[in-house]
């Protein structure tokens, strides 16, 4: 282990627990009782869960009854996508694997080279498609590009489709309002906002007769059975309370500017959140960049953290027409603990890699 402090710039993979979240969870570790039990121990826990349900609903402009707690974004996506048969699921080509895994190759909506879904192409495709479900993320996990969800939702609804929005990377980075997005389903995750891993939610529009993915007890109004992850829900609630602090949008913009002055960024022409960016180092493979950065104690990634070992997330750059150079990009992402000095250290180390590689070439 190097003696120097590690610098964590991989917030899009997961964020450290915020101190108030830790405190709330430490307290919740001592709760006794199953929230479904009718005795007092159980009812007390249920009340606390429902308070978080209300807070989450408020955060995204939904009603408490529209909130279903899940084990994370992947499960939320799975429940939403499986509401229609596979041949009727449509999604942009830059969705997370947890969405793309459910959607046939032929039903992918193209994206522009700028990094957001092609609205005109989507209109043509969706108008000729059998009514089903359209899935579009609000903020892309590889580039940070904000997707035109409201526009696509309007088109999708016009042609009789349901709309699902994977807002996992968006929560805490942009305002989310279910109604103005036009989403019938919204996927959310706790660990991207300084909450616990293993915790997420699916917002389901009121009155929709949801087919549950799993069968069992009557929890979550029969829509998602299984004893509730009480610790996770309490942590999610505490993370929501600090959402404004987590976003820290103003200081994030300054950090992003600091990087943009010295690096080529994917989807730089698209509306983007400042928290996530993919950087290009021409002629240098990202695996080499990662290795060198790791030796310097810098924790970044080549894309989504999904499955062990494999470098995923390149499909986003490929969809933008960057297939030839996709393996020369690394992703950095910031959180509220990220400092200007840390970003400086990163940029210096990254520049040094570039210089040494250019010399070698």
């Amino acid at each position: 282990m190097p003696s120097k402090q590690l610098i964590y710039l991989d917030y899009a993979a997961t964020a450290p627990l915020r101190p108030p979240v830790k405190a709330a969870m430490a307290e919740a570790l001592d709760y006794v009782g199953n929230p479904s039990s009718v005795h007092r121990a159980g009812r007390a826990v249920r009340d606390k869960i429902n308070a978080v349900r209300g807070a989450l609903a408020d955060t995204v402009g939904a009603m408490p009854g529209e909130v279903i707690f899940t084990s994370g974004g992947t499960e939320s996506n799975a429940i939403a996508l499986t509401q229609v048969s596979k041949d009727r699921r449509y999604a942009s080509a830059i969705e997370h694997e947890a969405v793309l895994g459910w959607v046939d190759e032929v039903n992918r909506l193209p994206v522009t080279s700028a990094g957001f879904v092609d609205v005109d192409a989507a209109d043509v495709i969706l108008s000729n498609a059998a009514p089903g479900l359209v899935s579009l993320m609000l903020v892309n996990n590889a580039t940070g590009a904000i997707q035109p969800v409201a526009d696509i939702a309007a088109i999708a609804h016009k042609h009789g489709h349901l709309v699902h929005c994977d807002a996992v990377q968006a929560l805490g980075k942009v305002d989310i309002d279910k109604a103005s997005l036009g989403a019938d389903f919204l996927s959310l995750s706790a660990h991207k906002i300084g909450g616990p891993k293993g915790m997420g939610a699916l917002i389901v529009k009121d009155g929709f007769a949801l087919q549950s993915l799993t069968q069992g007890g009557g929890q979550e109004r029969r829509r998602r059975p299984g004893t509730e992850n009480v610790l996770g829900i309490i942590g999610f609630g505490a993370a929501l309370e600090g959402l404004q602090d987590f976003a820290a949008t103003k200081s994030m913009k300054a950090l992003a500017q600091q990087v943009a002055e010295r690096a080529a960024i994917a989807a730089s022409a698209a509306p983007r959140v400042p928290h996530i960016m993919s950087l290009h180092m021409p002629g240098v493979k990202n695996q080499l960049q990662l290795m060198r950065l790791d030796l310097e104690g810098l924790c970044v990634s080549a894309g989504s953290a999904c499955s062990s070992g494999k470098v995923a997330g390149n499909h986003v750059l490929e969809a933008m027409g960057l297939a030839d150079v996709a393996d020369e990009f690394i992703r950095i992402s910031f959180g509220p603990e990220t400092t200007r000095a840390e970003v400086d250290t990163f940029l210096t180390a990254w520049d040094a890699i570039r210089t040494s590689q250019q010399k070698a070439a």
Partner: protein, 385 residues
């Protein structure tokens, strides 16, 4: 366990976190926050190590190879993945028992959508499986049998070894929901008999929101996938794992491993103490489920002439239940007791008293006192009706 002025005796519903489990989880709520699937830096590796250590410990208590143990969001998800996964793999008969947990029953019924033929077998009056009846039901096209090791409502222990003797020779998969057995009785032989085993963290003094599924490699090769995504957990269950929950589950398994004998002795002692107490009260009652082939930490009884809802309302200082927690909101008597042929009047007069690691003799004495008071009160109310 006492919480404020109340005694907790609902250990089948959930268990409080053991302090050692709590301590094992805390580091993963602090500096060790990485995503276990981040492969490019040490925060990720550290989190992955926590997941691996937890997996090793959970596997060890079951005496299986950790490579065949997959973390899930809980036993409900494990049971869904197992049953529907097998049904997706091959069409045919899917057999289970009328007394299984609702997630097993409903998953079995739902397998019909994949072209399966669900068959739900009745049980004997004591809650145990009728092996002859099972054997008759094992047709050539039977894909799987799912039987729980220990029943969650009545505590009876099903003969998994004898069931396996019928299924294995016929090439039929045996799935066992061991959520209530794991850590409570010896389960090191279970994987010799069952091909798939479901486990839960919060029934063994670990956290809620995590479970596991053991799948023998030959069964896994024939299973379909219920939840796709990033491909974590051997493609069976995608989604970012929670290292804090994995570490807590592992610690809970490690603790349970050394305590099975002592726990069985404690459960027997408190079972006897409770039974003696009811005898002394002189109320007419019947024990539901086999008297001996059961987990002794589970005392499910029906008290003639009483209504369990009213009884529980009068038990302000004792947390017990009338059956499964997930069915609590539902009206009507327990389907498990119905399957045993318990008459409706008695099924609606049932109480499940669950003792556990933090139960002591004094709590049982006090609980008996509260029960006697509540029985007297609710009887008076019944008279005044």
């Amino acid at each position: 366990m006492r919480v404020g002025n109340a005694i907790y005796m609902d250990y089948q519903s959930t268990t409080p976190l053991d302090p050692e489990v709590r301590a094992a989880m805390l580091p993963y709520m602090e500096d060790r926050f990485g995503n276990p699937h981040s492969s490019s830096h040490r925060f990720g590796w550290e989190a992955e190590a926590a997941v691996d250590v937890g997996r090793g410990r959970v596997a060890q208590l079951l005496d299986v190879d950790p490579a065949n143990l997959y973390f899930t969001a809980g036993a409900t998800e494990s049971n869904n993945i197992a049953i529907k996964g097998l049904a997706l793999g091959r069409r045919g008969r899917m057999i289970t028992l009328a007394t299984e947990h609702s997630c097993v029953l409903e998953s079995t019924r739902a397998s019909k959508q994949f072209g399966s033929e669900p068959l739900i077998l009745p049980v004997e009056q004591d809650g145990l499986i009728n092996l002859g009846q099972l054997e008759d039901a094992l047709t050539e096209d039977t894909v799987a049998v799912s039987v729980m090791a220990v029943n969650n409502e009545i505590g009876v222990i099903q003969p998994i070894k004898q069931i396996a003797a019928l299924t294995k020779s016929r090439g039929i998969w045996l799935h066992c929901d061991a959520a209530q057995a794991y850590g409570k009785i010896h389960v090191t032989d279970l994987a010799k008999h069952a091909d798939l085993i479901s486990l839960s963290g919060h029934k063994i003094y670990g956290p809620k929101g995590i479970g596991a599924l053991y799948v023998a490699p030959e069964a896994k090769r024939q299973m379909g996938v219920l939840m796709s995504g990033g491909g974590q957990e051997g493609m069976l269950r995608s989604g970012t794992l929670a290292p804090a929950l994995c570490a807590g589950f592992g610690q809970a398994a490690l603790l349970a491993e050394g305590q099975v004998e002592a726990e069985m002795a404690r459960a027997q002692r408190h079972f006897d103490q409770l039974m003696a107490g009811f005898e002394a009260m002189g109320v007419p009652y019947q024990l539901n489920g086999h008297a001996d082939t059961r987990l002794k930490s589970n005392l499910n009884l029906s008290i003639e002439g009483h209504d369990s809802a009213r009884l529980m309302a009068n038990l302000r200082r004792l947390a017990v239940s009338s059956g499964a927690a997930c069915a609590s909101a539902k009206e009507g008597p327990s389907y498990v007791l119905e399957a045993l042929g318990v008459p409706a009047a008695l099924a609606e007069a049932s109480l499940r008293i669950g003792t556990g690691r933090f139960t002591d003799d004094a709590q049982v004495d006090d609980a008996l006192g509260y029960l006697e008071d509540a029985l007297t009160k609710s009887r008076r109310k019944s008279w005044s009706k």
